[in-house]
Symmetry: C2
Subunit: 300 residues, 2 copies
């Protein structure tokens, strides 16, 4: 496995060591969690989140997982199969628990139908639902922190999009470790932000982790894919571009004592949703609004 | 002429009007100069700088020009021919003067030889020499402001490079209007920052301005070309990306009262060069150092 950005090449054992080291470095440098903390990993069946679950267990962390079945036909069933398989074959031996939520069972409709009912794009509806359910499970089961599988490519692409439009508000929230600023909001971390998509795919293959290869059929996130393509072009010409770009941003922000500001700001604007109690800036949170609208448009 | 980023298409007359309007908007919004000011345009023989000279004269500004012949064989001779031709056929009628400097005559060697003598890349040597000579002419002939033909593509590519590496120091100096912060430094402006490369090429063709099409043979500025390629890819998918990116940056910086800081900083660190008197942060300026090194290595 050649890694031009580190000017290095690894055999299988050393590559696994490299992946584990980079994850540990992320966890420690960003004070994500300790061995005492209970972690819930948001798993989708894709390479990043399954790799994350695997890495955390092998590093000796107390990591459970949550899979949200969005009801996207065969795609969701195949994703769930991969997650169940990993859970039984790898995670169970560590005493790790898998929570499974089915949107169809809990809300009476899959993501496609819900998005149609509320006249909103599927991806943004899906985002609202997943964020809500992950947070809910983290709070209800008293997890200390919620971990997602976002990698360096994801974060660099998101940063490029935010920088191209100079979206200060989003730039402020784009860190790999967001504190639990108010009661009812779980701490959120991204322990894979130092590893690329390619490295995580290689990790899964080397460690026989079976994952869903296809992108979600609902929406390819065209904009994000374009930013990734462009960053890959720059990376090919100049290895290390992505990490210099994203890590440089983190370094720059760190020196500006940003997280403290964010916590203060959050405390000032967030309060419990009138229906469910999760923190929101409005009277009713976006998830409850979405579900109320979906129910109102359901034919009786 | 179709302009997807403005969602518009123009005939010849309207397109010229559009180009003139965008230039006026740049000049006024950034307080670059007035009709009373004497301007010196840095011309290279390429489309941007000749278009700029043409536009300023047609808008009724007092614009002279300076061409620096760098002694790059046939390329420099052909560039100089285009500049002389434009000067005689178009600019002279406006009473506009062209200054011509020949590096070979003034320093005894062309840019290639000078770069070899001082063991530095040609492009950085060339940059030092051009910046120095343009500033010198502006100061000696009492011009109020120096104008260069940098366009939106140039500025967006430069910004992308600076942002990818988070080079704060360069980010601070990347405005289209840099004040004459200290005695001996001319004010520098970029009136074409609202127009793209493609628009300026079209302007030259429509207005029969003959220009050097080839890039400089010494160095293609590979990095800048790569950034331009990547921005063009984003622009194709999402027209307006470049302007949102660069203008958004300017807007963001404007609100941070940046230019005042820069003037103060400059005053604190700049003082006259011990040899030539132009402002420098060191005892001897980089131009004088370069020439001293070149002379020391010249075989006698």
């Amino acid at each position: 496995m050649r890694l031009p950005r580190h000017n290095a090449a690894f055999c299988k054992g050393c590559f696994n060591g490299f992946v584990h080291d980079q994850t540990l470095k992320a966890i420690r440098s960003q004070q994500m969690f300790t061995k005492d903390d209970r972690i819930v990993v948001a798993v989708s069946g894709g390479k990043d989140s399954l790799a994350l679950w695997d890495i955390l267990l092998k590093l000796g962390y107390r990591a459970d997982a949550l899979y949200v079945n969005l009801g996207i036909g065969a795609y969701s069933e195949s994703s769930q199969d991969k997650v169940l398989h990993f859970s039984e074959m790898m995670a169970a031996a560590h005493g790790s628990v898998l929570h499974v939520h089915r949107v169809e069972r809990e809300e009476g409709a899959g993501i496609r139908e819900l998005a149609m009912l509320v006249h909103r794009p599927t991806c943004s509806t899906c985002g609202t639902i997943k964020r809500y359910q992950f947070n809910q499970v983290a709070i209800q089961h008293d997890y200390d922190v919620m971990a997602t599988g976002h990698n360096l490519d994801d974060e660099a692409a998101r940063l490029l999009g935010n920088v191209l439009h100079w979206q200060d508000e989003y730039l402020e929230k784009q860190g790999p470790s967001l504190p639990a600023s108010v009661d009812g909001f779980a701490k959120k971390v991204k322990p894979l932000y130092r590893l690329t998509e390619r490295e995580l795919a290689a990790y899964c293959i080397l460690n026989k982790i079976d994952y869903v290869v296809d992108e979600c059929p609902m929406a390819q996130g065209a904009r994000t894919l374009l930013y990734k393509e462009v960053l890959n072009r720059l990376e090919t010409e100049s290895p290390g571009t992505k990490q210099v770009f994203y890590w440089g941003f983190l370094e720059k922000h760190r020196t500006r004592v940003m997280p403290i500001n964010m916590e203060e700001k959050d405390r000032a604007v967030l309060h419990p949703c009138s229906l469910c109690g999760q923190p929101t800036t409005a009277g009713t949170c976006s998830y409850c609004k979405l579900m109320a609208r979906a129910k109102a448009s359901t034919p009786h």
